[in-house]
């Protein structure tokens, strides 16, 4: 593949591995790499922010009834030592129509799952959207559509809440049918929704209007 000439050429021209040469080379290589990365980071910073915000706004729109204005984002903790959830209250003509909650669970089949859940003004789930997950494709990854299929009332979570419905999978004695062959992912999903709801309730009682 490579002829003798090439080989000799490269050997002759190679810089000697003296201490100074080695230090100099490494400093130069890392310095240039850092400069290039700094430039690219600066260049992509804006678009990355925009893409993230867009994904979040899209998610909020899909999980809530129609609204025309988002209120101030609130960061609320679901309990001692747990990561906080983000609340996005939505208004239409100045009236609260629902709250989108960015909730999470750490008990997915592959760990962390992030979900945007919407709760309407009556305190029922109005929709959800899975933002981030690493569940098995074809199994747990089906959670995005499984729990929002109106033709299957036993797996449908919309219009329900953990007070009127037992938000555990039927295998554990609850009212929601788990995804076929993905009980762990389903438990995790319901865990995230329950976390959103209980945080919502806790703050409702201390919050402004109540119900």
């Amino acid at each position: 593949m490579l002829n003798l000439n090439d080989l000799e050429d490269s050997k002759m021209a190679k810089r000697e591995s003296s201490f100074i040469n080695m230090v100099l080379t490494l400093v130069l290589v890392t310095g240039i790499a850092a400069a290039v990365l700094g430039f690219v980071y600066d260049f992509t910073k804006g678009p990355i922010e925009v893409a993230k915000l867009k994904a979040q706004t899209e998610a909020i729109k899909t999980v809530l009834p129609e609204f025309d204005e988002l209120g101030e984002t609130m960061v609320l903790s679901p309990g001692e030592g747990q990561d906080s959830l983000e609340f996005f209250p939505a208004y239409k003509n100045g009236e609260l129509v629902g709250t989108a909650i960015k909730t999470y669970t750490k008990s997915g089949f592959s760990g962390f799952i992030s979900i945007m859940a919407g709760i309407d003004k009556d305190g029922n789930f109005s929709g959800y959207s899975v933002l981030e997950h690493a569940e098995t494709p074809g199994l747990g990854s089906k959670m995005g559509v499984w729990f929002s299929n109106p033709e299957k009332p036993n797996q449908y979570v919309i219009g329900k809440n953990p007070e009127t419905t037992n938000f555990t999978v039927s295998k554990d004695g609850g009212d929601i049918d788990a995804i076929t062959a993905s009980t762990i992912s389903s438990r995790a999903f319901l865990d995230a929704l329950t976390r959103a709801y209980s945080t919502y309730k806790n703050n409702k009682t201390t919050g402004d209007s109540g119900q």
Binding site: M1, L2, D6, L7, S10, A13, K14, R15, E16, S17, S18, N21, M22, T25, L26, V29, T30, A33, V36, L37, V40, Y41, T44, P47, I48, A51, K52, A55, E132, A134, T136, P137, G138, L139, A181
Partner: protein
């Protein structure tokens, strides 16, 4: 050297997945669907092409004893560039591949080509080599991903081919990756024998 031969060797004769058996971690990890395979393959191709070009340009300025760390820094820089660009402009693909992109750094194909080819050849040949090997890798990942997606979820590039009730789930799970890869390698060895 014949550049066409240099380019096409990546597809069959020296295919990184089927023949050299390099980069198995991303290969088995991301190929649960064809689109993931394609995205990962193209990202790796970009890194391979750029790192091969840069390594062949600087090969004579880098002392023998620090060449590996220097190559790794060059490769890692390009991987980070890819990661940032994907995050900014194709967030959907980044979401499904996110975890595997940083792993391109430790993909032995990239360092392997830098060390075995780019550090001994001129820029033109190195670029062709990087492109050929990269596209060969992409071809292998798409092939694996397609087979697994069709058998495991009844779809190809997210288009339903047959109803989900008839799928064989094991193919989208980790064992399915090994099974499909094993059969493909057997098939290719058989083909090469003739």
């Amino acid at each position: 050297m014949n550049q066409w031969k240099n380019f096409s060797k990546g597809f069959l004769k020296e295919n990184p997945v089927f023949v050299l058996l390099l980069g198995m971690c991303p290969t088995l990890g991301v190929t649960s669907s064809a689109i993931n395979g394609l995205g990962m393959g193209l990202a790796t191709t970009f890194v391979l092409l750029m790192s091969n070009i840069v390594v062949s340009l600087v090969k004579n300025a880098i002392p023998e004893k620090v060449r590996i760390p220097s190559f790794i820094v060059i490769i890692a820089a390009f991987v980070t560039v890819v990661q940032l660009l994907m995050q900014a402009f194709v967030p959907a693909l980044y979401k499904s591949l996110g975890l595997f992109i940083p792993l391109i750094v430790v993909n032995c194909i990239v360092l392997g080509r830098a060390e075995a080819f780019a550090s001994k050849n001129n820029v033109g040949s190195s670029a062709v080599d990087g492109l050929g090997i990269g596209l060969g890798f992409t071809f292998a990942l798409v092939l694996l991903g397609s087979i697994r997606e069709i058998l495991g979820s009844g779809k190809l590039f997210n288009i339903t081919i047959y109803p989900e009730n008839y799928v064989t789930l094991v193919f989208v799970l980790a064992p399915g990756a090994f099974i499909v890869l094993g059969y493909l390698i057997a098939l290719i060895n058989r083909m090469k024998k003739n």
